[in-house]
């Protein structure tokens, strides 16, 4: 800096006057800086935090989350505002996409299924939060890890709210009467009483035989085969249990395999035991099927049971949620977790992380699970001992088998491909379209596999 410039600058400073307005402005800025900047957990820390959260379909479930957030806000002198955003018409995803593009919006946003990967570039790392929870509660769901841990960094925190698996929800009376199977006897509401031989015998062959009997009796199972998540999830679980791999982790297309052929041949028989409308069902189709009393079983979270409890209690009283059948490569259930993400453009990241940690504690999770009648599923297996799943009724213990227990593993269609590839496979419903082409369209098996290879090749686009 030259002497002349120094001189002129000092003259400017000396000429500036301390007006009343400047003084007030400086004081206000100083106070704001003191209040807002150093957020320290547990300390007095004003500010505000806004959340955009998936709007829960269970009446009252949102209130519990609001209560938890307000509790945290009161303790930390932080004003929390929550916008509950419906997933109808993908409004939550549209909102997230708009906020990501605009670089402004809520501090915390909930993301369904693959959205963490989609917005990874504008999501704050949450390794510290997830790390603390893993240290507290043990291993986390591998599906959650697959979806939210990107290149070794957690970009999303698995939520309890809205996270789900899609096991069997069966009418035990119809199964007993028409197929001679007592699902309550195989899967009683106490895992320690499960008989290994009986559980092992609950496999896809048994499922097919029972489905055929139930169809003959006029109460077919209703397995969605449209292009929405319920269909994709259960089909993905079945494919996994037959050992089908679409694309492996190294971008190799593996769909042309004996496992795929076996699974599709099996599907041909199974879909023939379903009503023809399953190809047109959205995610509510199977629920309506069970609730109507026409259906004997679906693959779904306990939402169908919960609605039946309200609208057709006599149907709800005969429902039992239990693990999926076992296949040659194991027993898998489709899992669809939700996540909280903190935008990188959030103004209050430290507070956001602390709030997330608070609502992920087991005490908070217990309240959320209770508020949703057991629908919401945490991603930590050590939390599956919460009392809600044992106490919910009717009948008592009906959703005990909802959290994966025994040898049931969680899975998601599209894995183990890179999550960028998996998202395409999942969202384009390549697995269910394959099944529909083969079973409904009566296309040749080789043609279906060739079609799938072409589509999978497209998902590898960089």
């Amino acid at each position: 800096m030259t002497d002349s410039r120094l001189h002129s600058r000092s003259r400017e400073v000396s000429q500036s006057k301390v007006s009343r307005r400047n003084l007030l402005k400086s004081a206000a800025l100083g106070s704001a800086a003191v209040i807002a900047a150093p957020y320290v957990k547990g300390a007095y820390a004003a500010g505000s935090l806004s959340l955009g959260v998936w709007d829960h379909w269970v009446p009252g479930a949102n209130n519990t989350l609001t209560k938890l957030c307000n509790e945290w806000g009161a303790k930390n002198n932080c004003q929390v505002t929550i916008d509950y955003i419906t997933s109808q018409g993908e409004k939550d995803k549209l909102t997230a996409a708009a906020e990501a593009q605009a670089g402004t919006g809520h501090d915390i946003m909930s993301h369904r299924d693959w959205n963490i990967r989609i917005h990874q570039e504008v999501l704050e790392p949450l390794d510290d939060v997830v790390g603390k929870l893993i240290a507290q509660y043990g291993p986390i769901s591998p599906v959650a890890e697959y979806l939210a841990k990107i290149k070794g960094t957690w970009r999303g925190l698995p939520t309890t709210t809205g996270s789900q698996v899609k096991p069997c929800c069966s009418r035990f009376d119809l199964y007993q009467q028409h197929a001679g199977i007592d699902v309550r006897d195989i899967f009683p509401a106490d895992e320690s009483k499960w008989d290994k031989a009986k559980v092992d015998n609950w496999n896809w062959d048994t499922y097919l035989t029972s489905a055929q009997k139930l169809q003959q009796a006029g109460f077919p199972v209703g397995l969605a085969m449209g292009q929405t998540s319920d269909a994709v999830d259960w089909t993905g679980a079945l494919f996994n249990s037959f050992g089908v791999v679409m694309v492996d982790g190294k971008d190799n297309i593996k769909i042309d395999s004996d496992e795929t052929r076996t699974a599709l041949e099996y599907m041909k028989k199974l879909m023939a035991a379903n009503p023809p409308e399953v190809y047109a069902w959205d995610d509510a189709g199977n629920n309506r099927w069970l609730i109507s009393g026409k259906g004997s079983g679906i693959m779904n979270p306990p939402s169908a049971w919960a609605v039946a409890k309200r609208d057709h209690p006599e149907v709800a009283a005969q429902c039992w949620t239990h693990p999926m059948p076992r296949g040659p490569k194991g027993r898998f259930v489709g899992q669809l977790p939700q996540f909280y993400g903190v935008w990188s453009f959030s103004k209050n990241k430290v507070a956001a992380k602390d709030l997330l940690l608070y609502i992920s504690q087991k005490d908070s999770v217990a309240q959320l699970v209770q508020a949703s009648s057991g629908y919401d599923l945490p991603s930590f297996k050590t939390m599956y001992d919460l009392p809600t799943w044992q106490t919910v009724e009717p009948p008592l213990g009906t959703v005990y088998g909802y959290p994966p227990r025994g040898d049931e593993q969680t899975s998601i269609a599209g894995a183990p491909a890179r999550s960028e590839v998996g998202a395409q496979i999942y969202n384009q419903a390549i697995n269910t379209v394959m099944v529909a082409k083969f079973t409904q369209g009566n296309e040749k098996l080789d043609d279906v596999i060739k079609w799938a290879e072409n589509e999978l090749e497209g998902t590898l686009r960089v």
């Binding site: 693959w114 409308e277 099927w289 384009q428 529909a436 409904q440 369209g441 589509e455 960089v462």
Partner: protein, 315 residues
């Protein structure tokens, strides 16, 4: 020049605009074109902000790679053309739009003639009733139709079954599903054609029909040689508008079938939504939605050129 500098009204000069002070500003504001521009400005801002900017932004997006980090030119379009499903979507959109517009135009023309031949008192009643499908928000009416076609509890199937017929998989069978979405589009869009054609019919001079009747022309000859030529421009414009809107249709397919079964009812908008929003590939979604733009633009130019030519001939 008179057009641009003439005063707003003769009295304006005597009233003057003393508060403005400046003579130049006064002259500026007195120009009709200036006032017109200022009055249009809110609309221009809205169109620029909500139509032109998003359009150019989507063109820009369509030329980026999946992660929006690299410019890749037309690669997204090339990629789409190499995909079986996309080629099927192109075919389906064409079937959907062309057949829907054809039936909308046909039904619109027939009903417009029927209403035009009604006494004036009855016309108003029928016009109002037949416009109802067009007035109801499309998302709402699509939901109503979806209920009628519901895969498990279809009201139509209930009637069919009660008459002793087998039920129809309206949305479960891909071909019936295509029929269903086209039917709903025709139901929704036909009133637009009706009202346009009715207006056109009313503008045909009655003397022409009288002269034709004296010459012994029958109804068909009157229609072919008087009505149709007089309506050619309005038919061309309505077909063009409807074609553009139908090619871009989203609500009906998304609500009724979501593009299924087996992707066999997807149209550009729903496929673009699936790729861009659900799968997170915004550039590919943008490329899909823009795919028909050049074809529709050429069609628009040709149709509008024909309209102008005929307009000059008549003038």
């Amino acid at each position: 020049m008179a057009d641009t500098v003439q005063t707003w009204s003769p009295g304006m000069r005597s009233v003057g605009l003393p508060v403005l002070g400046s003579q130049n500003l006064r002259l500026f504001l007195r120009r009709r074109s200036t006032i017109a521009f200022l009055m249009c400005l809110p609309l221009i801002v809205i169109i620029v902000g909500l139509v032109i900017y998003p359009a150019f932004y989507s063109i820009y997006l369509s030329m980026l790679n999946k992660t929006q980090t690299r410019f890749i030119g037309l690669d997204n379009f090339n990629f789409l053309l190499s995909r079986d499903v996309f080629r099927m979507v192109v075919e389906q959109t064409a079937i959907f739009a062309i057949s829907a517009v054809f039936f909308k135009a046909l039904i619109g023309l027939i009903t417009a003639h029927l209403i035009n031949n009604l006494p004036a008192k009855g016309q108003r009643k029928w016009r109002g009733m037949l416009l109802v499908p067009w007035v109801i928000p499309l998302a709402l009416s699509s939901l109503g139709w979806w209920w009628l076609f519901d895969p498990t509890h279809s009201a139509f199937n209930y009637i069919l079954e009660s008459l002793g017929y087998d039920d129809v998989q309206w949305l479960g069978n891909p071909y019936w599903a295509r029929f269903s979405v086209i039917l709903v589009n025709v139901w929704y869009g036909a009133p637009f054609f009706l009202i346009m054609y009715l207006a056109a019919l009313k503008s045909v001079p009655e003397q022409l029909y009288e002269a034709a009747a004296i010459d012994g022309a029958n109804a068909w000859q009157k229609f072919r040689h008087i009505t149709l030529p007089m309506m050619r421009n309005i038919i061309a414009i309505t077909v063009l508008f409807s074609l553009i809107v139908t090619f871009a249709n989203f609500d009906i397919v998304q609500i009724m079938t979501g593009g299924g079964p087996r992707n066999m009812t997807h149209v550009f908008a729903t496929y673009s939504f699936m790729l861009g929003i659900r799968s997170g590939d915004l550039p590919l979604g943008a490329a899909t939605s823009l795919f028909m733009f050049p074809i529709l633009a050429i069609a628009a130019v040709l149709i509008l050129r024909g309209v102008r030519k005929r307009g000059r001939e008549i003038g």
